[in-house]
Amino acid sequence: MHRTRAVVLGAGIIGAACARELAVAGLDVLVLDRGGAAAATTAHGEGNILVSDKGPGPELDLALLSRRLWPEVLADIAARSAGRPPRPASDQAAPPATRAAEWEPKGGIVVATTAEGAEGLTRFAAGQRAAGVRAEAMDPHELRAAEPFVTDRHTAALHYPDDAQVQPSGAALVLLRDALAHGAELLTGHEVLGAVTRAGRLVAVRTARGPVGGDVFVNATGPWSGEVSARLGAPVDIRPRRGEILVTTPLPPTVFHKVYDADYVGAVGSADTGLQTSAVVEATRGGSILLGSSRRHAGFDDRLRPEVLSAVAATALRLFPALADVPVMRAYGGFRPYVPDHLPVIGADPRLAGLWHAGGHEGAGIGLSVGTARLLRELLLGDRPSLDADPFRVDRPAVLGTSDGARDTHAGSTGPPDSTGTPAQAGASGPAAVADPDQAAARNMTEEGA
């Protein structure tokens, strides 16, 4: 009997999660990546699994699903590799198969430092609670006990017990290895150059090493989704949005939760149009503290910008002034997959049968990966979806590049060198559905790192 062959394009965390989900469901899975696995966007982020930063709506629903799935998935992987029935994942003594994920359900704390920030945070949390998020107000003593080094100048603090953290590259490899253990195959060094279609259906992708055929293709190429989908003839408007992170030398335990600044700090650094920084501070298992984050549109320009790093440092120090003497030993930047309406893209492409998309998670892809993969599998196999997938559908104006001004900030996109598909704009037209995407971003209390 012919098993459905699913070709997953991209071996980052979204591709790894999708590959695992489809392989566990019994599909014949092949993962293609231009480079190696878990090395691009996935390896340049913070590993956030957050519910705290999302207001009520479809993204929060996906985040809650993902937050529920993460410990289950890790427990399943541990059980499969140990050959025993699953039991709930614990952050203590993780088994070898999942240890690399560095799963830490440490909880998040959002701190406001102005009166307006406190008011906004309180209002925001009320809405979240109504949507099922645990958000606990902390008094100054509780905050001091939980985070001894946080600023004294706080006006409100909220504890989100369900925020968690993974080491993103390690987590992606844990998912990918489990996919391989379920029969999936990994082909690295295969760049997608174009499409082979038959009767309007995508039947293979062309690579420099020859065509790779399949029944369904899942575009999980993150910030390169726009380029790859254009090469396949069905472009989606997913663009890179640059972010930078600072890494300190290993420290004694100093930061105990994921700690964010509730006050959205816009347009720091006057020379950088569009640069936004907000403080995201957390310790890793290695002892370093990660300090984020910045957001700016710069295409795929990967040049270091010292003034951006300076702005990130200044923003973080407002939250943790005690860190002023701590050395930063490394800085890295990555590209988030950005969609103008700030919602992921999950589902079948109505323009090209056989093509599916799973991307556009901006800074939330690590956390949302397992929920995205679950939803994709359910849609692909015609199962009842865990949540309403309609808001994530492909044919919405923001995704098809038909919303107002959707192209104007699309800096640095390099056109496909070669494509058998038509890279022309295709499909739906209509009025802009999203009034002001950046207002949508501002509603997110904190924006997580790349």
Binding site: G36, P250, A313, A314, D325
Partner: protein
């Protein structure tokens, strides 16, 4: 017309020479070095506080060095930034995975410097925007791991040299100096001069090959003949002190309880595979090791300079420079050991050429022709040294599975090998995050080339990197910077010189 401004990073033999000729060519020069005194590792100077009345006793070529230091530092167009670190270079040309060739008129990167604030306290940030940038950042010892190399008492040959010459501290009583390369000799002599007992100098290369490299075809040496003669003179000092200089042996282990008490050497074949049964232990309190040098490439990589493989194999890369010492990055010149290791005279020649041309000096002046000729002889000498002192491919044979490879994160050899064979971790970055090797405070400066070599050797997937991939040298933060220092805005440039924050640090603080 406005004078050209040149920033020179590194005040060792190459950087000082570059500053000297750039001044001679009429440029404004800012010379930046992390040390308090110029000289670099080669002319490691005694601190002023020692009040040394005879510093020449431990300094090779002290007089001419001192003359050049005075000429450069006292020059009215030279700004000397002591104790200042370049922590980042900011490229003006487009970045990206496959950047288009930048226009030749594109200015060099902005130079981000951390300089001491007057009166102490946090260092100040400064941003320099020169017309040309000369990189002369030098090299540090490469040390191959062996069991016990993380014990206190095992140090680099350069550490022993710096402590003996730079502050008159001897690292130990009974010392074995080991590894490969001519640098082992001056280190052993410095230790003898300072009063240590050097038990032996252990060179892994075979005697015949070393002798051929140093002394063969003497007519090719030209200006480098003096260097070969210096090496012979150093072997003479060893002989006078009855210190054996052994060839074809390597340190394969160090042992001790909390510090080195014993070193094990063994005979090695041409490929550095250990000859069984030849192990010999000696009681020591210090082992000084050097297996050649690792160029300090953070800044060239940050500037976008193309690299080229070194003559000793793919794990060693250097900055690719043209006949003018110009790199592939517009306005950026490189000289000294970041372009190849040939000793101080060759570095000085490269520096003199780089400084002159970076400053816009006439490219065909007679003196420049002579410099180019001497520079070419220096490059030939670098190749001879590399061929005389290769790193044998079989060296990992002396590792054990639990031998620490990354000293910071204590990643062992078995873990590095397992990651190299993992088909899901073919990308160096994913492997680094998985093994933690290279993630610690040194950021892979020590283990980087070793990890790259082991991954290349044990990898089963695609080759992890091309021969000139900046890979392990990619450190956008070239030096650690404290958060408070980073968060403050840079000091404003001098009002009369917007192109170049020309005020020395002690005048620019507020």
């Amino acid at each position: 017309m406005r004078r050209r401004s040149v920033v020179v990073v590194g005040a060792g033999p190459a950087g000082l020479a570059a500053a000297d000729t750039a001044l001679a060519a009429g440029a404004d020069v800012t010379l930046v070095d992390s040390a308090e005194r110029p000289g670099g590792q080669y002319h490691r100077m005694l601190p002023d506080a020692y009040g040394a009345r005879a510093p020449e006793a431990v300094q090779h070529g002290y007089r001419s060095f001192e003359r050049r230091v005075r000429r450069v530092l006292d020059h009215p167009r030279c700004s000397w930034w002591a104790g200042a670190e370049v922590w980042a270079l900011e490229r003006r040309d487009p970045g990206g995975a496959a950047p288009a060739a930048p226009a030749p008129s594109c200015p060099p990167p902005k130079v981000h410097v951390l300089a001491p604030a007057p009166g102490g306290g946090p260092r100040r940030r400064h941003v320099l925007e020169p017309d040309a940038l000369v990189l002369a950042t030098g090299a540090h010892d490469r040390v191959l791991p062996f069991p016990g190399w993380d014990l206190p008492g095992v140090c680099t040959a350069g550490a022993a040299q710096a402590l003996a010459k730079g502050e008159r501290v001897v690292v130990g009583d009974r010392v074995v100096v080991a590894g490969t390369g001519p640098f082992l000799l001056p280190v052993a002599v410095s230790l003898l001069e300072a009063g240590s007992t050097v038990v032996e100098v252990v060179e892994a290369g075979a005697r015949a090959r070393v002798a051929r490299g140093w002394l063969g075809r003497p007519w090719e040496l030209g200006a480098q003949a003096g260097k070969a003669g210096e090496l012979l003179a150093l072997t003479g000092v060893l002989a006078r002190h009855r210190v054996p200089y052994r060839f074809g042996r390597a340190v394969v282990a160090a042992r001790g309880d909390g510090r080195v008490e014993e070193v094990v050497t063994a005979a090695v074949r041409a490929d550095w595979s250990v000859v069984p049964g030849t192990e010999r232990a000696a009681a020591v309190d210090v082992v000084c090791v050097g297996h050649g040098f690792t160029p300090r490439l953070e800044l060239p990589v940050a500037a976008g300079c193309a690299l080229r493989p070194g003559p000793r194999g793919t794990s060693e890369v250097y900055v690719d420079v043209d006949d003018d010492q110009a790199t592939s990055s517009p306005g950026v010149y490189a000289c000294g050991e970041i372009t190849g290791v040939a000793g101080a005279p060759a570095a000085r020649t490269e520096g003199a050429l780089a400084g002159w041309l970076a400053a816009g000096g006439a490219p065909r002046a007679g003196a420049v022709r002579a410099l180019r000729r001497r520079r070419d002889q220096g490059r030939a000498f670098a190749r001879r040294l590399a061929h005389a002192h290769p790193v044998g491919a079989a060296w990992p044979g002396w590792l054990r599975p639990d031998t620490v490879v990354c000293r910071c994160e204590e990643t062992d050899y078995a873990t590095v090998c397992a990651a190299a064979q993992d088909p899901t971790a073919t990308e160096a970055r994913a492997a680094k995050l998985a093994t933690r090797a290279g993630l610690g405070p040194c950021q892979g400066r020590v283990c980087g080339p070793t990890i790259a070599e082991l991954r290349h050797r044990h990898g089963t997937g695609q080759p992890p990197a091309g021969p000139t991939d900046p890979g392990s040298h990619h450190r956008p933060l070239a030096q650690p910077i404290r958060l408070g220092e980073l968060a403050r805005p840079p000091a404003p440039p001098a009002p009369d010189r917007p192109d170049l924050a020309h005020l020395p640090p002690e005048e620019s603080g507020s």
